[in-house]
């Protein structure tokens, strides 16, 4: 995201702000969304904090007593990290291929991207279920090649969950990189080639530095979104692969312990926010989106 206000900001700083910003303007433009955030975001978060502290903080200790919780915590973080790494690599390659391939192929790649961005995550997870069922489409296909006689065991296993998660998250990693690639300076690429740099050196010295921030911000986005993932792990991971979200849901709807659910939610929100804010400070993530 380019800086938005360079020329005006300078003019304002110099003069007695003839073109400046009135108080009324601030009040009418910025306050409505800020108030909305205070109500719609602040209120629920405060409620969570209050609910979780009802027993004097015992809910936090109880949360770690829940046998499924620590396991799910580790599993969620590992899952988010693996999915992030995979989507960063695949997403960068995908974006490179989009700008580097002939028109017909680019059209196909973009169509796949739009299709998956535009259909709901749940519908896509359903598709993966159908693919991975013991006698599902994948089995049919392998059978056709004469590779599978037994029903395959992918459905509701860890190995079956990852491809679906990567597929669901892939567009978020592709889009920022694609934007960055499109605004890359072609002259530098040509110059590198003219001066005899091979493809690897050109990529490392010219292309990579220009797209790296977008790759990182796409990765952070995927990581943060994966931490709160609910639908896909639920449908494809099965009970053996409960994420933190699944455990919270169980506390609320089955164990009927809203205080523990609230404590876990606070931990989840807190962890996610720390990651997001750190990444935002370090890599200026939010400025790369859009």
């Amino acid at each position: 995201m380019p800086s938005l206000t360079m020329p005006r900001a300078r003019a304002d700083a110099r003069g007695r702000k003839p073109l400046g910003v009135s108080r009324a303007e601030h009040r009418w433009l910025l306050w409505p969304p800020l108030i909305f955030f205070a109500v719609a975001l602040g209120f629920p978060l405060l409620t969570l904090v209050r609910r979780s502290l009802e027993g004097g903080g015992a809910a936090y200790a109880d949360a770690f007593e829940v046998p499924a919780f620590t396991g799910s915590l580790v599993r969620t973080v590992v899952m988010a990290a693996v999915v992030m790494a995979l989507t960063m690599v695949l997403g960068s390659l995908y974006a490179l291929a989009v700008v580097a391939s002939p028109t017909w192929l680019r059209f196909g790649l973009l169509a796949a991207l739009v299709l998956s961005l535009w259909t709901s995550i749940m519908v896509r997870s359903f598709g993966w279920m159908l693919l991975e069922l013991p006698r599902g489409a994948l089995h049919w296909f392998l059978d056709l090649l004469g590779l599978a006689d037994e029903p395959i065991e992918l459905y509701q296993t860890t190995a079956g969950m990852y491809p679906a998660m990567v597929a669901v998250m892939l567009p978020f990693a592709v889009l920022p990189v694609m934007t960055a690639l499109q605004s890359i300076d072609r002259q530098q690429l040509s110059a590198a080639t003219i001066f005899g740099a091979g493809p690897w050196l050109t990529f490392r010295a010219v292309t990579w530095p220009q797209i790296m921030p977008s790759v990182l911000s796409g990765g952070v986005l995927v990581f943060v979104m994966s931490l709160g993932f609910y639908v896909t792990p639920l449908l494809l991971g099965g009970p053996g692969n409960m994420t933190v979200s699944g455990v919270i849901n169980a506390q609320m709807n089955q164990a009927n312990r809203p205080d523990i659910g609230a404590a876990m939610s606070i931990l989840l929100v807190g962890g996610t926010m720390v990651v997001y804010l750190l990444a935002d400070r370090l890599f200026r993530v939010s400025e790369k989106w859009g």
């Binding site: 995201m1 380019p2 938005l4 206000t5 020329p7 005006r8 003019a11 003839p18 009135s22 601030h26 433009l29 910025l30 409505p32 969304p33 909305f36 955030f37 719609a40 975001l41 629920p44 409620t47 390659l93 995908y94 490179l96 291929a97 700008v99 580097a100 391939s101 680019r106 790649l109 796949a112 535009w118 259909t119 709901s120 749940m122 519908v123 598709g127 993966w128 279920m129 159908l130 892939l170 567009p171 890359i184 072609r186 690429l189 493809p199 050109t202 990529f203 010219v206 979104m225 639908v231 449908l235 979200s245 919270i248 609230a262 939610s265 989840l268 929100v269 996610t272 939010s286 859009g290």
Partner: protein, 290 residues
Amino acid sequence: MSTTVGRSLGRYRAPIVVVAMLSSLLLIVPFLVLVATSWTSGSFILFPPEGFSLDWYAEVLADPEWTESFRLSLWTAALSTAIAAVLGTLAAIGLTRVRHTTARRWIRTLFIVPIALPPIAYAVGLYGVTVDLPFLRGTLATLVVGHALIALPYVFVIVSGGIARIDPALRPAASTLGARWPLILWKIELPAILPYLLSGALFAFVVVFDEVVLAVFLMPPGEQTLPLQMLNASQEAFSPELTAASTLVSGLALLVLAIVPVGRVLRRRAGRAASPRPAEGQAAPEGVTP
């Protein structure tokens, strides 16, 4: 543009394109399988489908449970999107008026935070609010507000991208000519960001329409949004009815996506016919904001 990047990749180009094509299969194949299973004439999900019929589509369209939940999703999502569109645009414009750099960064981060917010934790918080405030019980207010908050960042990011493309000289010019801020907003900034506002709102609508986790916690008993209906149906029995409904929703989304660019082209033509001034006149001095 593609050729320069493509050429710079040299001999690595072919493998990259192959990897991207394989990844695009991850995006497309599950969806195709889903569509295929929905036109079976049998009553079970099978791949390859048995025979061909559109019975299951008729079944879905005739079932009031599906149509009711579709209607409910449609209007709640429309309401949330409207709130998010107005507030997100105000936020994006208002942010450009903040001169303090640090303040601007923090406010910007705040407006993007809902993307990173784990939906389940937010849902638990909103649920807590409904429990505390009895007058909210049984209404859809918390659902609509929650969805609006989730949708807001998408509008904000896309509209901010549009604002960055407005010629920064226009505002001072209008101000010098005596226009006050509401007039500048109405005559200069809003027309320039309108396309971005529309695409942001469309994106937000799709996000909200698909959102299920908030609905799990916040729907009053007896009512279901479409994604919730789909999730519940998938937990009970995975039938061709469900895949037919998924196909219908996705088809509808893709139809909207196809209509929007066509509408934009038509409007631009009409605009050109109406006024001799080229439509591109006020848009995008791309070089101004690097």
